[in-house]
Symmetry: C2
Subunit: 455 residues, 2 copies
């Protein structure tokens, strides 16, 4: 068989994981691998950007997983500053434009991998193009935000109280700025946490000195005399702001695929099967630009998270390279922290379950992260969502002190396996006073849920 | 039906959990509950004793979960300083002796609960009765050890490098004593950790300033001129010691049951079914004195751990009180820490699996507790033991920095559910840089194990 050509669009987690894995499966004599990346670099940790801004990461370079030179040493050819502008699935080519020179050329492929990622949502608000209204998506964004702080920015407004919004708010607050978070909905992290758990997050954010304004919409951005941002308009009143950061969630970059006739789903992501193949022969996709199947609800969802991008890329590379692997879907597991408060969630919320018509019982348990008598024991609240008809755990939320967050993995594993709360309540989980009460919060919450089921 | 009398032998976790749960099920008009405890107090956290000695727990009272007066308020009558000396299963009575007065009497029961716990192993070594050779099982032991340190103890020898031995060594070292741990076997935590993982623990113990002597047996204890301990003889040479603490594991207190004809198993514990009933009508048992079924190996084991005692007591109380519950067995999950090193284990070790003739593949993965660029990211090593014939995870060991230990719960849950490593490798576990690399150590290790299976 002739040597095949794998062409990757997008040089970040999904695309480059796919490339690396395909290379592990097949050598350069069998498979040529070439990638085109619009930006100036490959494979960086976007999730680390808030911590770069906070000053916890020594240098932007620490966020770069692998450079084009490192890929070259594995016989993966990466062209940065090259944007793919069109896909021809019939001729099996793409059009590529050099970002600075504007030169266009056509590149052939036998197997095409789309890893175009996602972009931050930018609503068409008055003044949104004002200098100082930013996102935090790229290393360049992080460096610019850091520069603005170093240059004396004092007041910041963060738009949106989701994961990124709160992480950015924490970072800016730690850097000494006066920070306001403006959220249209009535709770932070709405959609991912139920209202009762979100209240704990709101309290932590406010205790951390951030002005959290809920149920408040941004109406526009006002430039000052020098043309750069001076205020963010909320409820008809301008909040002073030297910088505003948008944290309004993301949208899959699926237009390129859509224009080429590659199916895009209702959630706005490219449609793939569990082997990461699109319905178009020879075309694959992975990462933030695709839709994944939610294992509990059956819905197709776009969840932009590095961990899925990496796993999907690896599955894709395995299959493309002649092996066999499947991506089993997601259950919406996520974790973050604000100050000392750790926040985890997985599966469906109570609100989501009710909206879908799934009959559930919700139970909340208050516990401690360690034995009560051990120094550093902190409160933790665990909410479990249990399906009534079979007693199976379908959702969990955890908010609490140090050590609370990662407990979500135990709950995610239980959900993944379809475990009943009654079984989780007697499972053999670990106990030692410095790390757990004798009834670990997870086990304790499962016991409460099992009893609530019988009510 | 006439009011029944539940008589509990042993006022600690298992017995008092059973009593409390039975009381929740039935009121005092239906069920009289009376408990006899040999010692001077009820329900204390023995696992907290090393931290009491270390000075991390404010006062011994903090380790007491519930006093006899608190039980009395729930209509549970507790007699401390009362030792049950005999059981008559035919007449349905026990003989009870007041510990100080020596007065004996007979008490009737309809339902008998044996929660006699376990005792520390005390080998018949020369000089073992010397003043200063101690165990750390009761609050009195903890208070006495604290007093000896306050009185100027300088040198300590800990006999045995298991969980208790290492926890005591850490505590004594933190209090400024010069500490030697003497272990007969070649690794610390032998039996619970494989040799390769135990080496990491040995390094942590030595880095912590403790003199860990492996493959070394204690030959005797030598009194000084005043009759109290002056040295511990190891390899013919006396190590200076003002205090010696035995950490040689425990033995079920099953003699009382055995003498009454209640079956005791090969592991030395009372035999119970999954409802916590002994084979003798009306006689129940729970906690450190019983044998539990190991779900992976099918073996009957005695595992003395407060978490099992509490769960078994609750199951027992539910059934005795007319409900229905089962204790599903154990998988040997355990966790501890030494200094900043956290140690967790669950399921079977590689060595144990091979001894049992289970065909397994063992895989070890090195990772970090957080994203590499995030401050406080520490090394963590995860060892997985996978059954060859079906790829199911049957054992796991974790040794690493802060946040490493509790990851064992995710692995324990996976083992509990019979999860295959291949499925764990693509499961949706949480990721955020302050708490996890993009490939969480658990997921990463599962991926390595899945690949090793195919070799």
């Amino acid at each position: 068989m002739a040597r095949q050509r794998m062409l990757v669009i997008g040089g970040d987690a999904a695309g480059m994981s796919a490339a690396s894995q395909a290379r592990r499966m097949q050598g350069p004599e069998e498979l040529e691998i070439v990638a085109f990346e619009r930006g100036p670099r490959t494979s960086y940790a976007a999730c680390g950007l808030p911590y770069l801004v906070e000053g916890l990461v020594e240098s932007p370079d620490r966020l770069i997983s692998r450079t084009p030179e490192e890929f070259a040493r594995r016989d993966i050819e990466v062209h940065v500053c090259h944007e793919v502008t069109g896909i021809d699935t019939g001729a099996r080519t793409v059009s590529v434009r050099h970002v600075s020179s504007g030169d266009e050329r056509t590149e052939p492929w036998d197997e095409l991998v789309i890893g175009t990622g996602a972009r931050g949502v930018r609503p068409p608000l008055p003044g949104i193009e004002t200098d100082g209204v930013m996102q935090l998506r790229t290393i360049e964004d992080g460096v610019e935000l850091d520069r603005r702080i170093a240059d004396g920015a004092r007041n910041a407004v963060v738009v949106g109280a989701g994961y990124i919004g709160l992480e950015v708010a924490e970072a800016l607050s730690a850097r000494g700025l006066s920070v306001t978070v403006v959220e249209l909905l009535d709770t932070p992290m709405a959609g991912t946490l139920d209202g009762d758990m979100a209240e704990l997050v709101a309290a932590a954010v406010r205790d951390g000195g951030v002005d959290l304004q809920l149920g408040a919409g941004v109406e526009g951005f006002e430039p000052g005399a020098d043309g750069s941002l001076s205020g963010v308009v909320v409820g008809g009143r301008a909040l002073a702001a030297d910088v505003a950061v948008l944290g309004l969630g993301v949208q899959a970059n699926a237009e390129l695929a859509g224009a080429a006739g590659i199916p895009v789903g209702d959630a706005g992501g490219i449609v793939v099967d569990e082997r990461m193949r699109t319905p178009v022969d020879g075309v694959w996709a992975a990462g933030d630009c695709v839709e994944s199947r939610h294992r509990i609800t059956g819905e197709s969802v776009v969840i932009a998270l590095g961990t899925h991008a990496n796993k999907q890329g690896r599955v894709l590379g395995t299959n493309l390279g002649g092996g066999s692997a499947t991506f089993p879907g997601v259950i919406g597991t996520a974790i973050t922290k604000f100050g000392r408060t750790e926040i985890g969630r997985t599966g469906v919320t109570e609100e989501h379950a009710r909206r879908l018509g799934i009959d559930v019982v919700a139970s909340t348990a208050r516990s401690k992260t360690r034995a009560g008598y051990y120094p550093g024991a902190e409160p933790v609240r665990v909410k479990l969502v249990t399906r009534c008809d079979d007693g199976v755990l379908v959702g969990a939320q955890v908010v609490g002190g140090e050590g609370a967050g990662k407990r979500i993995d135990t709950l995610a594993t239980a959900i993944w396996c379809g475990m009943r709360v009654e079984d989780l309540a007697t499972a053999d989980l670990s106990y030692a006073p410095p790390m757990s009460p004798v009834w670990d919060p997870v086990v304790f919450a499962a016991g409460v849920a099992a009893r609530d089921l019988w009510r």
